[in-house]
Symmetry: C2
Subunit: 250 residues, 2 copies
């Protein structure tokens, strides 16, 4: 699209505006958006006005805006996340009914685990994951299941970067993560005791294509003291179901 | 945003590009998008290239593009549909577990019923509804539940337009729809036998705010011969739960 005098395209500006919205910051004024997106106030007002006119942002009575329902609709109705989620949901519901803990679906996106779905049992424990939220690949059970069965160049790129330590238990140097990935490939699943939050253990099983690459990961968040076996058994069965569903023509 | 020589803004072009994608047309070439969006080929290629560079569209090995995972993420993580759906999902799962038929969540958007969620029991019957899909307000049980408790100006606007007849049973003149809306207000729920598909009956209950306006509708699609009572009982209970969940601070 046309470039502004500062050289960024209109598409870049749109992305920068959308990126100022988060799960905990859903309503903003145009001035706040401009400040957070690094846009001059007059530009921010014009871009926000255009997005409201197109229905991509919705404005409330006090002049604040939020991400528009129309944008959600356009982004959802033909998206890959919807297809993967639809294929996985029946199996996820069975896992959740039996294990009675948070049951999640993630894909690898831009070198992070992006969560497409989370079913939360009312009595389940703490859980940091959000739908459309992300976690580091090396620290989450979903991320480890995705990374262990990813292309070698993705693994090398992720391991070459600084690895954050979220808790004392997080494997945060390349050698420790390599050992963990080898274990995940050997077992066919990932167990991450206290890697994200000290009180929880994440367990995850990859959903794989015919070539063996991970398409997605199914996971459950257990209390740290719980035995992971029963949840893993359910996840392995669910992953096979989702692989069958995804291999059918859509 | 800046206007093109033809007078449409960059935001309009973005919306026109996104609108060419549908649940059954998820992959397209830039040339196909240009033709369907009414954009000159060179413009279509430039806009699609910018959107791919920004991650809002994803390109495959054969040069076709689809709606990007990044766009889904940006549109979902702080959106109203996510909040409404998260509030409704536990109640919807209970309805589905008991009734064992398609269980759906819709909101009123641009004078149509927009479906935010659909839980489908494996043994459930035919169902035309799609997530992020739409149905006419006067013809669907969800739409009638939303319209009966909408602002009077919305009702008048919808009734003033031509009303489509999807089956012989669809109420398709303003007087018939008015009678139906009065019935929905009297009963507190909508029953739509064969209005959308002759083989099914939709039943829906509004989720209302303190002022009595419909925020959303919960619905179940039953075989035409089934008695609607048990599903409606579950839906009324679920709607009260969702009203409580939505009235809590998010």
């Amino acid at each position: 699209m046309a470039n502004s005098p500062s050289g960024d395209s209109m598409t870049d500006r749109l992305v920068r505006v959308l990126e100022t919205f988060t799960p905990t910051r859903t309503m903003q004024t145009a001035a706040e958006i401009g400040r957070r997106a690094g846009l001059p106030p007059s530009t921010a007002h014009r871009v926000v006005g255009d997005l409201v006119a197109a229905g991509l942002l919705d404005r409330d009575d006090e002049g604040r805006v939020r991400v528009g329902v129309r944008l959600w609709e356009l982004a959802t109705r033909s998206s890959l996340p919807l297809r993967v989620r639809q294929a996985a949901l029946p199996a996820m519901e069975r896992v959740q009914a039996r294990v009675r803990e948070h049951t999640q679906l993630a894909i690898l996106e831009q070198d992070e685990a992006l969560f497409l779905e989370r079913l939360s049992h009312p009595q389940a424990g703490a859980n940091i994951t959000r739908i459309a939220g992300r976690l580091p690949l090396h620290a989450s059970s979903s991320g480890l299941a995705l990374l262990a069965f990813a292309a070698p160049e993705v693994q090398e790129r992720v391991l070459a970067r600084p690895l954050s330590r979220l808790t004392p238990a997080t494997p945060a140097d390349a050698a420790a993560v390599r050992r963990k990935l080898a274990e995940v490939r050997r077992l066919g699943h990932a167990i991450a005791p206290g890697f994200i939050e000290e009180v929880s253990t994440g367990v995850a099983v990859p959903v794989r294509d015919r070539g063996g690459r991970a398409l997605a990961a199914l996971s459950v968040v257990l209390p740290r003291e719980a035995a992971p076996g029963p949840a893993l058994e359910e996840l392995h069965r669910a992953a096979r179901e989702v692989e069958r569903a995804l291999s059918e023509p859509s």
